[in-house]
Structures are given as C-alpha cells and as structure tokens.
Assembly symmetry: C2
Homo-oligomer: 494 residues x 2
C-alpha cells in the first residue's frame, strides 16, 4: 500500500476541525468516554488477523508478541476508560462557603478539564500499545481531548487499520467524526506544522531523543507554549550488590540475558548498564551472562534504520578505549538483524567517557566494574535521567549502601529491587517517566491511568449556582465520585 | 541599608550547598516539615513592628494591609505544612502483587518525591505572601525541597528580615543551615545564573511577562530543562450579562469600582476588561462606575518603576483610536501615585487592536460594548490566557449564553459568578494559574496546598522489601495517610 503524505496546507483545516470536535466531546459525560473507549477496544479486537499480519510485515515482530500487545492495548483502552469514569483523576476539590467569616469565604470547587486537541506521535517498537490507539491516545480520549495521530512512517498500514477501528467506534457512539484525525507525513515539516498549530494544546511522543527534543523546542518556542510529553532515551542502570550477588550470580546472569535480548533489545526499559563491585561473584556473573548471550540467535529488528543505528552505536561503544567485548551471538547477524552483545569496562573509564553513557537501542549491555560503593556512587552522579533503575540486593545490601540508594533515586522514575526493568505493568501505581532526558516532564507518567492527567488542567468554579456546575461538582454528587470536600476525601453529597 | 549583590562567582558554591541541604531535608519525616513551617510562621509573627514598618517604607503599602498580608503568609505556612503532613498531595498509590497471574504481577508503590533546590523570585506587590517566605517558598519546603530566594530589589530590607526569620526556624529545628539561602541581585545575570545552574530543579516566579518569559526560556534551553512556574500577566475579563444587569447595574458598578482600585489596582487579579451588552443597563453601570472612580484619591504605587509603567501604559491605551476615557480621579496624581481611570470602547475596536488587550498594571479598566452574544464570544476568542474570568449573571443568563461560557472556560483558571476576581482564597480548591501567558504552566496552582505538587515528581518503588520502603508506602501505613490501594482510596493498612 502507498500512503501519501498529508499536504502541509491541509493541516490548518484539520486542526480547526479537531478543535470543533473537542468542544463537542468535552461536554459529553464521563460514562460516554468510557463507553467510547470500550468500543474502540472492541473494534481493535475485531480487526483480527489482518491487523496482526499487517503489523508482522511492517515491524518484523513475531505473531505471539503482537497478539499480546494488542491485548495490552485493549486493556489500556478499557482500564483508562474505567478510570475516567471512576473520576479520581479529576482531583475534584470542594471548599464550601462560610458567610460568617469576615470577609465571607466563597464557595470554590475545582476539577481537571481537558486541554484541547492532542497531537500524538507513536513509537515504532510498540505498533499498537504506544502508537495509533496506544497509551497517549487512550489518555487523551479519557481526559476529554480530541486526538490527531501522525502515523509512524515505519508502520503506516498498521496505523491505518487501527485508525479505521477508532473511526468505526466514533461512528457507533455518535461522536464527532473529527474527534480522531489520522495524518501521514514522512518529513519533519509535518510534525512541526502539527506541533506549532495554535489549536494544538499538548503533544505525546515516544521515540528518539533527537525527535522528542525537536518537538519540545518547537512547542516551547510557540507564542503560547504547550506541554510535550516525550519519552526519549534511557539506559536503565542496574546495580549488583555484594550480598545478593554472593547468593546467586548465575541465576541473576540468566535473568539479565533474557531481559537484555527480549524483543531484540528494542525496549525503552532495556538494561543497558550493569554496575557491579569487582570480585569473584561479578566474574561469575559475567561468564554466565556471556555464555547465555552467545547462545542468543540474531533476529530482525523493527526497520532498517533501527538496525543500522544499532550496528553503528554498538561499534562506536565497543571502539572506546577500555571497553572490551565479553561475548556476542555466535551466529553472525544478517544486515537487518541485531546480534546480542555484552561488554565490560571499569568505573574510571566509564566516568571519563560520556560516549559510554549513551543509549545503544538494541540487545547490547555493558558491565561496569566498580572498586567500591564510593566509585559506584560517583558513576551514578554522572548519569542523566532514566526511566528505571534496578538494585539486585538483599535487605543487608540496602542498609549497607544508603548513599547509592539516595543517589540513584535522584535519576529514575521507577526503582526496582530484584527484578528486571523490562516489563512495564499497566496499573495506577506505575511511573513510566523520569528526569530528563528519559522524558521531557518527569512529573507525569505515560503508562497507567495517572497518564490521563497529562492532558488536563484544573479549572476552579467560584460561587456557581449548583444547577450550572458540571455534574462532577454538584452538591448531590450524582456521579458518585471521590471528591475532597473541606480537605476530606469522600463520596458523600453536600 | 545597603544590600550588595551576591557575586555571580559565588552562586555555584551556594547552589551546591543548597543541593547538600536538600539531600538531608528530604529524608526528614513529613511531621518535621510541618513543625519547621509552623516555626517559620512563629518567627514571622515575632518579627513584629520592625517587619511592618520596613515593608511600609519599601512598598508604600499601608499598615493594615501589610498586617493582613503577614497573617495570610503565616496561614499559608501553617496550612501548607499541615497539608504536607496530611499527605494527600503525595498521591500515594499501591498496587499489590499477584503471583497467581501469568506473568506474575509485581508489587508497585508510587508517591511524589521532592525535585531538589527551588529558586524563588518574589513579587513586588505581595512583599510577604508572594515573596521571601511566601507561597512558592512554603510549597517548596512542604514538598521537601531546599529554597534559594533572590530578594526582590524593591524590598531588600523586608526580604532580609523575613530571611532571618526562616534562618532562625532552621536553627531551632536543627535543620541544615543551607536549606534556605538568600541572594541579592539587581542584574539579569544573577537570575540567569541561578536558573541555569545544574543543581536548580525548579523555579517559582511572580511578576511581569518579560521577566517570567526570560526565566522560562533559560530553563528550557538548559541541557536538562526544568519546570518554571511563572505567574505573569492577566487582565481578568468580566462579563456583564443582561438579566443580571437589569437588576442591579448600580450595585455592580460600586462593587467593581472597589475591585478596580483596591490596593491602587496592583493585584494580578485586577479586573482590567469589562464586557457588556449595549443598552440602558450598561449605560447606568458606566455612569455609576465613572462617578465612583472619580472619587477615588490617587495613592502611591509600589515603586517608581511600577508608577512609571502605569502612566505610560494607561496613556498608550487611552491614545488608541476609539477608546474613550469615561472618568478618572478628580484629584491629580503625584509622580509616584496612580490615579484611577475607566475608559470605554466597542467590541469591534477591541477585536482589531491588540494593544487594548494588554495588561495595564494599576487602577485602570476598560468597558467593551458588545452588540450581542456573538460579538462578545468573538472578542473572547481573541483573548490570551487569564488567571480569572467573571460572569455577572443570573441562572437565566447562564442558560442563555452557553457559547460564551464554553469560550470563556477555555481561557481562564478560575471562573467566578457574581463576584469580583480580586481576593484569592487560600484553600485546596483554589486554582491560581491559567493558560499562557497568565502562567507558564496551567496545570498547576500557586495558591492553595495543591501548589506543593509543583515541586515534586512521582517515584515508583517496584518489589521493595517493606522495611526499606518510605513510611508513606509501608504496609502498616504508620503515617495514617490516604493512599489509593488497588484503585480504592483508603487509610487502611495492607
């Protein structure tokens, strides 16, 4: 199939249509949003084998993985819709009037309201869950926003099928046709025109640092700057602490070989840096990790651009003085494939060479030998912001390494103990977002229902007659949502 | 007194000290933060007449107003401290593990953690409540951050007294001396150096558009961009609707004469634009408003720069073709004084001349005559973001003007019915923040305990042993805070 770029000249009219659809949609009750999102999920499911085979052809991802990912996407749509209807995310606050106070205290009520049209740029590595009807789109719809998606150039046909599913759901729910608009564009100009249009009120992006940072800069240079939620780059450091490592270096190595090579390493939470304290346990870990990695067969990466970047960045990392290959896949990789590899260096080499801090997107990881906690902490202090950080540690280790824990907590959004960073649970407590450059706004998450809040802002109603207030804030609490009334969370009426 | 600028070369060391103090303070329990803030309040109170007379001399504000403002500042410190301890702002979320699921569901717990050192630039019009120990500082301390305040050049002696009160509280509480650092600087360079320092993690500002936008741009151009919460400019439009105006045009005019001239019009919520529907009621409103305004004696403004800007901007507005003076103070203003004035124009003139949309900081307001709702809505669609908007309306008016209400809700943070925008209640439901350029981030408030969230970000703990979790997230819920456990708000233990 051939997908023509949407002409730049048409984008202005599209954004105006998105704005008009937003004005209608935001007035619909929360229950309508939830119903709409359930029906998108239904339509995603009904897209059947055609969607899976199309995505397999465009992304080289295997069938089982894509089927799982579609289920996850369906779960996101349904659960964010349920969360929208449950209403906790609205942060409804009511402070009632006090006419006996001098001066009298007014009645003030506040809740989150949607920002307006949201432009979404999906990820190539999650063609469903972080693309057309993925997390950003689901959060925007849940918040009450309209959505404009620029199809990912690496999977336009997949994106078109999902767009059709959303459009069918819009039609079935009697919502404005332009609530969802699908745009194609292979040039930077398309993205820039979308982000800088005055009707665009927020941007969601998952991808490279270069791409995300460009959107962030355009958005901030607008006459009216707008928020950009870009998830960009993370090397997800892991810290192997001595007491834990004494126990099971081999098991840990096996677990990490799996995490490093999962999905040809094409996850934003792939563990790219593994710090350990020099010693026998670390040597054992390295040996087993090397053996396991050597046995992993290369596989096709998402698209030629990703494969090329992986080979170049891996070669660059391995060519740095003092960084040594431990093992790589024994089977030579084809041109579009990624071969797993692990390397090792010392903390002093790492600290003094920021090339080694850069993300190598693919099944590559580096083990950094530290002399002691002090050196480990120093290395952490040089790291940029990360989505995740992981300790392999016993409770004794955690008590023995307080400075490390303090330092690591400065740079990550999710802090894991005795696990692997890959695998991002979709739940309310999830934080998928971290200090820059992991994301452009560490105060928000792109996974879990709290992600809805990215696309909303508080609006306070002072002294409104009850009849004219939104249902969410009426005295009777007709929607039966939790509200904080005079500082106390409650579902009670007033 | 003479306050020397802090040498630029010293700022690096100061920020490093602030960072170290932050690392200690953030580990202290919530109850310590609340106690510390209560003691700052005590010390503010103990600063007695010296603080009031110093502020009177530096700001030209009257004694009663300053005494009230100190009380408000004390209330903010105490109530934000209490909110910090109550812990709702932490957004604690717990999703417990499910080992029977395939794959097993991990235990994930999330709460807000402080960002790091916050640099605060206070306002000249609130020398206590939005300055040295004002709302931004109180929110930052409540969040667990250290604070660096650049003293406002218009009230350095006042700022120094308040800084001493904070330093005494730090000492009484046994907290790190550098938890609060006071800097003087009259050049742009001081602000830029503070905002661009790598240890600075957020900025609070209240003041002009030019000042706030400069900080915003510097912050976004950093290698690691940081959030800037700048409250900048707002003309706070008011809409007089016909049914309400038929009832009491005179009373409304009296109320607005008071709001326009309160504190020589030097409030960020001063009503600068008043839209009405052409007719007899509007004429009556104008006549009474003019009479009342004429009777208000000029008074000294905050500082010569503000007085000069007021005279220039008022003259510029009045010189625009089609904008006509209704009345001004009959007593001529002295050089440093501001004289009240009201002008009037038509919607078509207003729509086509953006000079008339600009804030005139002081006791000046303009009445815009609209032919009908359509013209009123068109005028609103040309307005930039605002802190507040106000309807003078009956329920009938609100039902008759749905398009106006929809359009106005796009541009404001607080939407008032039958009141005046001046007077910002300090409570949880308050939203003091609006779409750009009212503030740089409409998703947050600078008044009320929700302002604490500006200086924090979520951190998720995955699979941590209970003993090592922060108290806020431990199974037993030792702090007895509200937490959302498996999607349900509760104070129960797990």
């Amino acid at each position: 199939m051939n997908f023509k770029d949407t002409p730049i000249a048409e984008i202005d009219a599209l954004m105006e249509r998105s704005w008009k659809a937003f004005l209608v949609y935001r007035e619909r009750p929360l229950s309508d949003r939830a119903a709409f999102m359930r029906i998108i999920a239904e339509e995603m499911d009904a897209s059947g084998d055609e969607l899976i085979t199309t995505a397999m052809a465009e992304t080289n991802l295997p069938e089982a993985r894509l089927k799982n990912e579609r289920n996850r996407t369906i779960f996101q749509l349904k659960s964010y819709g349920e969360a929208a209807e449950r209403g906790d995310w609205l942060e409804a606050r009511i402070d009632t009037a006090d006419n006996n106070r001098n001066p009298p205290k007014p009645d003030i009520r506040k809740m989150l309201v949607p920002l307006g049209p949201v432009v979404v740029f999906g990820a190539s590595n999650f063609p469903f869950a972080y693309s057309t009807a993925g997390g950003d789109t689901a959060c925007a719809f849940a918040a009450g926003c309209s959505v404009v998606v620029k199809a990912h150039p690496a999977h336009p046909a997949t994106s078109a099928i999902v767009a059709t599913a959303i459009q069918k759901a819009i039609s079935r729910c009697g919502l404005p046709e332009d609530l969802f608009i699908h745009v194609f564009g292979t040039s930077t100009e398309t993205g820039k025109t979308l982000v800088t249009h005055k009707r665009t009120k927020a941007v969601g992006f998952t991808g490279s640092y270069t791409g995300g940072k460009a959107l962030f800069d355009w958005a901030n240079q607008r006459k009216e700057p707008i928020p950009v939620f870009a998830e960009m780059s993370s090397v997800n450091p892991v810290f192997l602490l001595p007491d834990q490592m004494e126990k099971e270096p081999e098991k840990t190595a096996e677990m990490y070989a799996g995490s490093i090579t999962l999905g040809v390493g094409q996850f934003c939470t792939n563990p790219g840096l593994i710090f350990g304290i020099k010693g026998d346990a670390l040597e054992k870990f390295k040996t087993v990790l090397g053996e396991k990695i050597a046995g992993v067969a290369p596989a096709k990466m998402l698209h030629p651009g990703i494969a090329k970047a992986y080979h170049e960045k891996k070669s660059k990392a391995l060519s740095q003085q003092g960084n040594t290959l431990i093992k790589e896949s024994t089977v030579k990789a084809g041109e579009l494939e990624g071969e797993a590899a692990v390397a090792t260096t010392t903390a002093s080499v790492f600290i003094n060479n920021t090339v080694l801090h850069e993300e190598v997107f693919g099944p590559y990881s580096m083990i950094i030998e530290c002399a002691d906690e002090k050196e480990m902490v120093e290395a952490v202090s040089k790291l940029e912001g990360q989505l995740t950080a992981t300790l392999m540690a016993t409770e004794k280790d955690m008590l023995d390494y307080p400075d490390l824990i303090s330092e690591v907590s400065n740079i990550c959004g999710r802090f894991i103990v005795n696990g692997v960073p890959t695998g991002v649970e979709v739940c309310l407590a999830m934080q998928h977002g971290g200090p820059f450059p992991a994301t452009t706004d560490s105060r928000f998450t792109s996974v879990g229902a709290d992600g809805i809040k990215r696309f909303a802002r508080p609006l306070a109603y002072q002294n409104w007659p009850d009849s004219q207030l939104p249902d969410e804030l009426k005295n009777a609490n007709p929607l039966q949502i939790y509200r904080t009334v005079n500082n106390e969370p409650t579902k009670n009426s007033i």
